[in-house]
């Protein structure tokens, strides 16, 4: 085989001669082509059938290796690239050992029934599984009534004592989020937590309320773990298990676009 230029495929109607690449306006690309003469153009029967298969397999391996190489380069250059060595679905633990006495909720819900309480009560709670996961991870689950109370406390909400954090993708955040909520991307949480203003706001907040879609959505829990790993006191971190879905269903205010865009509408309801 020898390399041939693409433009050799451009023949005039008589089959003789060929147009120059400049005439055809094609860029010169070096390609492999089968030698002329014998029936080598397709994967059909013949003495060289096995050889042809081998050539195609080799070609596919080269394409794969080059493609994977380009992918790794693109991932490294991309602002949204993934870290191959990171377990993105493990809730990160504290930087220092947890105090078992910590973690008491000051308004959120407990998923474990209190002594004497009917254990079947939790079965009717559609957020029971979410609450259980939050509690297992060592955080406080917070419900709608408490979230709304914090949101309506204008003074504390606007002066940074209470901070809401949206853990959903950027596109969903821009479609609508709880007004004045910040957004933290789990993929880039390490950078975002170390950059101003969150770098200063979060450690000084009294309560941090994290949310995502709600229910079994785990992004808020993952970001809670990132915050804990960054040194933020986990007793301040609350996970709103009903999430944005419930907030929207309750027809609460929704802010569209960026944070502080001022484009506030009412949620859609059921």
């Amino acid at each position: 085989m020898r390399p041939a230029i693409l433009c050799q495929g451009l023949r005039d109607s008589s089959g003789r001669g060929r147009k120059s690449c400049r005439e055809a306006g094609w860029a010169i690309i070096a390609v492999w082509h089968q030698p002329r003469g014998r029936g080598t153009g397709g994967l059909h029967g013949g003495d060289a059938f096995v050889k042809k298969i081998g050539k195609v397999v080799l070609e596919s391996l080269i394409v794969t290796v080059v493609g994977v190489g380009l992918a790794l380069i693109a991932n490294a250059k991309s602002g949204r690239g993934l870290d191959i060595s990171k377990d993105y679905f493990k809730v990160r633990t504290a930087a220092r050992p947890m105090d078992p006495a910590n973690g008491k909720s000051d308004g959120g819900s407990e998923t474990k029934p209190e002594p004497g309480e009917d254990p079947d009560k939790n079965k009717e709670d559609k957020y029971a599984e979410g609450k259980r996961l939050v509690k297992e991870a060592g955080f406080q689950a917070i419900e709608y009534d408490e979230v709304q109370r914090l949101y309506r406390d204008d003074n504390n909400y606007r002066n940074g004592a209470y901070i809401f954090v949206d853990a959903r993708p950027a596109s969903e955040y821009r479609e609508g989020h709880i007004p004045l909520a910040w957004r933290i991307d789990h993929v880039k949480s390490d950078e975002m937590l170390k950059a101003p203003p969150l770098q200063f706001l979060l450690p000084s907040a009294e309560k941090i309320v994290l949310y995502c879609h709600g229910g079994n959505c785990e992004d808020s829990l993952l970001v809670a773990g990132d915050m804990r790993a960054a040194g933020i006191d986990q007793t301040k971190i609350h996970v709103y298990v009903g999430g944005f879905t419930e907030w929207w269903e309750k027809k609460q205010p929704i802010e569209k676009g960026d944070r502080e865009s001022g484009d506030i509408t009412e949620g859609g309801g059921q």
Binding site: G41, E59, P169
Partner: protein
């Protein structure tokens, strides 16, 4: 005098099927690859739904999430550029066949668990096209696999100008 070629072979000699296969496959894979590459974490979450990897093998899952979208884009560009057609077609078939199987198994699982009619099942398969109806997706993927096989089997070569003057590298 040689026998008259079959209808399929004569159709192939026009280069029309291979050009159509290249354009459709190339455009499709560039489109889906770009959608996945734009949000790699979302694609990673979709991959996780299939439970193909154990919790300890997260780096395998990360590797697939990182490389698959860009490999799709690369293959799409190769097809549209007419480079390494058969090898690229084999790579795409190698991606399409197992993916189709995995999507089917997931739909079967949903059908068994939630007692929904099979063709009524809809979910985001992580294909880069959002939520899809499973039956439609299977038909689509079967079509894409067939187009890949056309490129593997075809004897006509590269240039789009082959439509007017197809170049055959075989002597019949």
């Amino acid at each position: 005098m040689s026998e008259r070629p079959s209808l399929l072979r004569r159709l192939d000699d026009t280069a029309i099927p291979s050009v159509i296969a290249r354009v459709v496959l190339g455009a499709m894979f560039i489109y889906t690859g770009v959608n996945k590459a734009a949000e790699p974490y979302d694609f990673l979450k979709m991959l996780r739904e299939y439970q193909l990897f154990g919790p300890e093998a997260y780096w395998w899952m990360n590797l697939v999430a990182i490389t698959l979208p860009w490999l799709e884009i690369f293959c799409g560009v190769l097809l549209l550029g007419g480079i390494a057609l058969r090898g690229t077609a084999l790579v795409l078939a190698g991606m399409l066949v197992p993916f189709t199987i995995v999507v089917t198994l997931r739909a079967v699982g949903i059908h068994s668990a939630e007692k929904i009619a099979f063709c009524a099942i809809q979910f985001d398969c992580g294909c880069g096209t959002g939520e899809v109806n499973i039956c439609r997706k299977l038909v689509e993927n079967t079509g894409l696999i067939l187009l890949s096989l056309v490129l593997l089997w075809s004897r006509t070569t590269l240039a789009f100008t082959s439509l007017s003057a197809p170049k055959k590298t075989s002597v019949d």
